[in-house]
């Protein structure tokens, strides 16, 4: 079944068309990649899909449902989760707290429940804490569980970024450069985690500049250039096409 469907999406900033007539479809359990030179419009496309920017035209559908005009938090609650290219940990919260915040539907988020239903809040907190420990173990972040977000290394931040979206019980992940600024060994670790998540049935669309690592990871690749989709298909085949090579050589 089609998980994420984008049809005729367009966006201009000050008359400059950053995303133009983009149509892509990714299955709900697929692992797909998106590449393109700097300024090709990848990050803007992510922002349009997740609601951080409003599209000028076109549609975003998620498991058949039209998402246009929904704010980012509503899209996230439907299971469409994103990470940020530059990780954005809650800097004064510990890794544990960073993860716990993201757990959905907490009655303890309501002041009344905090005072009127402490037992219920405590039970939920215990369940959230268990889930947090699972995610910590999965991402091998146990050692820094009590470290504040601002003291994490670049790689740890990338992992926390993934951990937080996992806490939201997502159906589909949009990962924005999960390998950027990460050492080669950790790239393989992160790639394995993404594979494992996909194996659990979570769909993924991964934007990445590290084309080799991405080609090994995904089954299908989209190439963007000048705001448009230039090519799509199996990684090996797509990367061999002359127009894709041109885009990369021409665009640096």
């Amino acid at each position: 079944m089609t998980g994420l469907e984008v049809f005729g999406l367009g966006k201009a900033f000050d008359g400059l068309r950053v995303v133009e007539d983009v149509s892509i479809a990714v299955a709900g359990d697929e692992l797909a990649g998106l590449i393109g030179p700097n300024g090709a419009g990848k990050s803007t496309l992510f922002a349009l899909i997740t609601g951080f920017e409003d599209a000028d035209e076109g549609e975003v559908r998620f498991f058949g449902e039209l998402l246009n005009n929904l704010p980012p938090e509503r899209r996230a609650r439907k299971g469409l989760a994103r990470t940020f290219q530059i990780p954005r940990p809650f800097s004064h919260l510990t890794v544990r707290q960073n993860l716990a915040v993201a757990a959905p539907d907490q009655s303890g988020e309501h002041l009344l429940a905090v005072f009127a239903r402490p037992g219920k809040v405590r039970r939920e907190e215990a369940a959230i804490a268990r889930r947090v420990e699972e995610v910590l173990a999965f991402l091998e972040l146990d050692r820094v569980a009590e470290t504040p977000g601002r003291q994490l290394s670049g790689g740890q931040r990338k992992l926390l970024e993934i951990g937080r979206v996992l806490m939201t019980a997502p159906r589909f992940l949009l990962l924005d450069e999960p390998f950027a600024g990460v050492n080669p060994r950790l790239i393989e670790v992160i790639a394995d985690k993404i594979r494992a998540l996909n194996a659990e049935g979570i769909g993924c669309l991964v934007v990445e500049h590290n084309i080799q690592a991405l080609a090994r990871l995904v089954g299908r690749l989209f190439v963007m250039d000048w705001g448009r989709i230039l090519a799509e298909g199996a990684p090996g085949e797509v990367l061999a096409r002359p127009e894709v090579r041109d885009a990369y050589i021409g665009g640096g």
């Binding site: 704010p71 996230a76 940990p89 809650f90 004064h92 915040v101 002041l111 937080r164």
Partner: protein
């Protein structure tokens, strides 16, 4: 001297309530509120007017808390749309509007003349002495309750969430949480503490005028919070203590500094407080208790 210490203690308790409230706004949620004195004024006038109209003290106090919280509602809603810097200006403007309204709505507030004869609490214990001591006890109790409530909130999922709002709103939205409702609630809650402080103030002085509610009060509260450490509950307590120590302690400086007039001394006091704030921001920007700093 004992009576003086009790009086200082009462003022300390009143400032502390305001600082605890501001700490919720800025220290824990990252909202810049430069209008805390506005909620303080609303609390003071509401409680005074209710008591003067013959309402029981409990009703007057509750009215002050409620009125301050309700006044914060539109501001809180505005805070959702405004960038943090603009919220600072909007709240500052709000507190000045409150003061101007108090000045001009003479039929209700007696304008610049001020409201006098505000009923005291513990009037049956007489004037001064035991009545003041009982009042100090009540304020201490109110502060204790405030600290316990805030501690509970901060340790709860709600508290975790508002700190995430402070650190990165957009990242929080990407996780499916809408910061709006939380910001409004925090705004009302922090204002309610200032409203309560206002009620205590009115029934202690028994005479209030608009010029007691100038922005300087807000900045005293900010100093207390910054010196103690924003986002730390003990910071709000210790910071207020330092502030009042400075404000009151510098009063006695005149005995030791020769050749300075009363008026000059008043200015020197302000300068001393300002210097303390500068030294804090230079050498310990996170405050005594290592709180949050932008």
């Amino acid at each position: 001297m004992d009576a003086y210490l009790v009086a200082v203690g009462i003022i300390l308790g009143i400032y502390m309530l305001m600082t605890l409230g501001l700490n919720l706004h800025f220290g824990f949620t990252g909202m810049i509120n430069f209008g805390q004195v506005g909620f303080f004024a609303i609390g003071a006038y509401t409680s005074a007017l209710l008591a003067l109209a013959g309402a029981p003290m409990a009703v007057a106090f509750a009215g002050a808390v409620l009125a301050a919280a309700l006044a914060a509602l539109p501001l809180g809603l505005m805070a959702l749309r405004l960038r943090i810097e603009y919220l600072a200006i909007a709240t500052l403007g709000f507190s000045e509007i409150v003061r101007v309204v108090i000045v001009s709505e003479e039929w209700l507030t007696k304008g610049v003349q001020g409201l006098g004869g505000i009923p005291r609490l513990f009037a049956s214990l007489g004037v001064g002495g035991n009545a003041e001591l009982a009042y100090l006890g009540l304020i201490a109790l109110a502060n204790l309750a405030a600290v316990l409530i805030i501690r509970r909130i901060v340790a709860s999922p709600f508290g975790r969430l508002i700190q995430a709002v402070r650190d990165d709103e957009e990242a929080l939205r990407a996780l499916g949480k809408d910061p709006a409702g939380y910001k409004v609630r925090v705004f009302m809650l922090g204002a309610a503490f200032a409203g309560l402080a206002g009620a205590f103030y009115a029934h202690y002085l028994t005479y209030i005028t608009p010029e007691q509610f100038v922005p300087l009060v807000t900045f005293y509260v900010w100093m207390a919070m910054i010196m103690g450490g924003a986002g730390r509950i003990p910071g709000a307590v210790a910071g207020t203590l330092i502030l009042v120590l400075f404000l009151e302690g510098s009063r006695f400086l005149r005995d030791f500094v020769p050749g300075v007039s009363e008026v000059e001394m008043a200015s020197l006091r302000l300068a001393a407080v300002g210097l303390a704030l500068i030294l804090f921001t230079l050498y310990r920007p996170q405050g005594l208790f290592g709180g949050y700093s932008k």
